[in-house]
């Protein structure tokens, strides 16, 4: 019987390598998504937690890319009847973290028609963000969505806050109306 020119061990090694490469191609790149994409799953979980749960805060839980996407977004709900909050942090279309926050934050519910983080970031970048990044080696620190608290002149509006940081100067906040896309406020601090 003729012996195979490829020894079994080498074949096994080649198989392992190819499987590893395939894993790197398919599983290596994390799924980054806009904040809107995780909202439905978070709402579905919150509805099971409490019938009167309302979404009051959205925040990037991991670094936000230049396209306004993140690997993980956090969604905070508040229930009037339970008088407590519940956080769902979503990654890869699954609930990665669920926890009861250690603080109370009975904020007003977000307007349901809020724009995605991708559009909000592009508006903030165009307004002052790009300039700040270029002049001060600035970086995006966080994106958060809340109603009322960041624009007391128009407290009924839901707004995105895009927060930039720099090692050399104070931070930059750009507040964007999450429905109209209008920049309503910017400040340094």
């Amino acid at each position: 019987m003729k012996k195979s020119p490829v020894p079994g061990r080498a074949l096994l090694g080649a198989l392992c390598l190819s499987v590893g490469l395939a894993g790197a191609v398919h599983g290596g790149e994390p799924h980054r998504f806009g904040a809107k994409e995780g909202e439905e799953l978070a709402r579905s979980a919150a509805a099971a937690w409490s019938g009167d749960a309302r979404l009051v805060w959205v925040e990037s839980d991991e670094e936000v890319t230049a396209a306004g996407q993140s690997e993980r977004w956090g969604y905070l709900f508040f229930s009037e009847s339970r008088n407590e909050g519940r956080v769902y942090s979503i990654k890869n279309a699954k609930i990665e973290v669920v926890t009861d926050p250690a603080f109370d934050f009975p904020a007003p519910p977000l307007d349901e028609a809020w724009m995605d983080s991708r559009r909000a970031l592009s508006i903030a970048d165009a307004e002052k963000g790009n300039d700040y990044r270029a002049k001060h080696a600035g970086e995006l620190r966080s994106m958060l969505l809340v109603r009322g608290v960041l624009n007391l002149e128009e407290p009924d509006a839901t707004t995105w806050a895009i927060v930039y940081d720099s090692p050399t100067t104070s931070g930059l906040w750009v507040v964007v109306d999450a429905r109209s896309g209008k920049v309503v406020k910017t400040w340094r601090g």
């Binding site: 509805a47 609930i95 009861d100």
Partner: protein
């Protein structure tokens, strides 16, 4: 002295009577215990910015007043066309049933085919029956589209099997991040289990994430043994979690409640 004791017993009689005749009004018992807050430590941090700047945001929140205004619209709303469609469907079903009955009657009368012409007529009847079945399948599809799509994430926990050492009197289902449910098993439920049936222990809405239920059996033989059963309900589906207690043995620490689940 003896007279005094008799008098005391007589005086206590109404009290004893009251105690023995007090009915059990509620099956829900509330036990209050006080313990230190044991916050879950999430495996990854979340809402870091809010946590770090909580005082600032809460201070801003104090400046807001939220009012809820409810408005009722007095205008007539268009009726959901599906409601009318259901009525039509019912009429169609009744008509289809009558047609099927008349076909059955016809087939019974013509047990023996007299001619090729009868055979052709029979084929036509069969085609009509096929068409009725097709219509019925369409109606089922419409109903499924209207109702199955509205399923929320929910779980039904079932119990099956009786341990060799005897049936428990109840089951405790504890969700570490939720509430504890204590279910007692009636004689009828135990009889059903003995015949190979299942008993529904819980049917609730749940978050679509990984859960772990701590299961323990209640009864004289069962003291402190519990089993962890992990499961992940599918989002917007009804997940059945069936617990099989037939292999558990209070004398064997390693014995396990086995679980299987399916979704519909």
């Amino acid at each position: 002295m003896e007279r005094l004791i008799r008098l005391a017993c007589l005086a206590a009689l109404p009290l004893w009577a009251a105690v023995w005749t007090t009915p059990a009004f509620s099956q829900e018992t509330e036990t209050i215990r006080v313990k230190a807050v044991d916050r879950d430590k999430p495996k990854q941090r979340t809402l870091r910015f809010l946590e770090e700047n909580g005082d600032f945001f809460r201070g801003r929140l104090d400046a807001l007043l939220m009012t809820v205004q409810t408005e009722r619209n007095g205008d007539g709303q268009p009726l959901d066309p599906r409601f009318l469609r259901y009525q039509e469907m019912l009429a169609e079903i009744l008509a289809a049933r009558e047609a099927a009955q008349s076909s059955e009657e016809w087939a019974r009368q013509r047990e023996l085919m007299d001619s090729v012409g009868d055979l052709a007529e029979f084929e036509a009847e069969m085609d009509e029956m096929d068409s009725l079945l097709g219509d019925q399948a369409n109606r089922l599809a419409w109903l499924e589209e209207d109702f199955v799509g509205h399923q929320s994430t929910a779980v039904v926990v079932l119990l099956t099997g009786i341990p060799a050492s005897g049936a428990p009197t109840g089951v405790v289902l504890a969700d570490p991040s939720g509430e504890t449910v204590r279910v007692s098993l009636s004689e009828a439920a135990v009889a059903s289990l003995a015949r190979g049936g299942s008993v529904e222990l819980m049917h609730e809405l749940v978050e679509p994430r990984e859960h772990t239920l701590e299961i323990s059996l209640v009864g004289e033989a069962w003291t402190g043994q519990s089993w962890s059963v992990p499961f992940e309900p599918a989002r917007d589906r009804l997940t059945f979690l069936e617990l099989d207690a037939s292999r558990v043995d209070p004398a064997v620490a390693e014995s396990q409640v086995t679980a299987r689940h399916w979704t519909r």
